[in-house]
Subunit: 161 residues, 2 copies
DNA sequence: CAAAAATACTTTACTCATGAATTAATTCGA
DNA sequence: TCGAATTAATTCATGAGTAAAGTATTTTTG
């Protein structure tokens, strides 16, 4: 008793599962390969890491500064993690914790001038790396991929938890 | 001096970069969302983790057992990591290191009967989770996605390093 | 065949992530 | 307004992950 409403012949649960697993595995593999490349290059070219780059990127996008809690939300990581990353970046003089005069519990985190300079250099390279890594897809394919990923993301957002 | 060979109007480096970054960000977001769901469910339903599941899945796929180095290659993680995961799974009696009679440097790692039983239960649920998480795409869309990811993976493989 | 190179795995030190508990400051409500 | 609840950030314990150095064994080669 097939439940399919299409003409596709074999639409049982097992083949659905197999198909979904194949897509998921490819997705994971591609993401990991790209991420590994970016990590390696950030390390060898700038002696930095992806989490640091991401944190600095958020600060670059918000020149007025961000609170720790805002960084946590934007980076989708826990507060304890942001504390650790910020500590190290501050030690290296790349970011600065500035007291918030309105609320003595919180800080405003900003890039220092040195941090801004370093980020600018990294961002320039990073963008070109991503172009190169995704060069396996032409313009039309990238657009198709974007559309599919948007649909997937929309579905996933309904699940959250 | 445009380098484009197509009729697409704005084909400068900046828009290429922007497009590539958009695709990469979506790819990363979707992967992270799926991964987070799988992690959470593995933890709450089986008190286990994704790395453990992945390791056991490889052993399930290779009932004759695998060497540590083969696990490292298949899981795409370092040897030290495999040592740690295997140690803990062995402590819990889910996998077993068996001496290789041909080479005293190496082991054959296998699922124990208890490990096999636990994996079977996890795999059944895991498959259904993935089906549900990817249900945002219909059959045709999954096929399109698979094709695009295959092209991307092929390109990435030429880069490796 | 002995020395050198390669291989298989472990160990160590470090980064990054989480969740739970803690501290301090602010806000809210009876 | 005072006590309770909330919020902002940190600390601590734990789990993966890496890279690099270490140990033991096997293989290669001169």
């Amino acid at each position: 008793m097939p439940t399919s409403t299409t003409v596709r012949p074999s639409n049982d649960a097992r083949s659905d599962e197999h198909e979904a697993l194949r897509v998921w595995l490819r997705l994971l593999t591609c993401t990991n390969l790209v991420e590994a490349q970016l990590r390696t290059r950030l390390r060898t070219n700038f002696d930095s890491t992806l989490p640091r780059f991401d944190l600095m990127a958020q600060l670059d996008r918000h020149p007025e500064g961000l609170k720790m809690s805002e960084l946590s939300r934007l980076l989708m990581v826990t507060g304890g993690n942001v504390t650790g990353l910020t500590d190290k970046l501050a030690d290296e003089g790349l970011v600065e914790r500035r007291d918030d005069p309105r609320d003595r519990r919180s800080f405003t985190v900003m890039l220092t001038p040195a941090g801004q300079r370093q980020f600018d250099r990294m961002a320039r390279e990073h963008g070109q790396w991503v172009v190169g890594l995704l060069a396996g897809l032409d313009h039309a394919e990238k657009q198709r991929m974007l559309k599919l990923l948007d649909r997937l993301k929309a579905h996933l957002s309904t699940i959250s938890d």
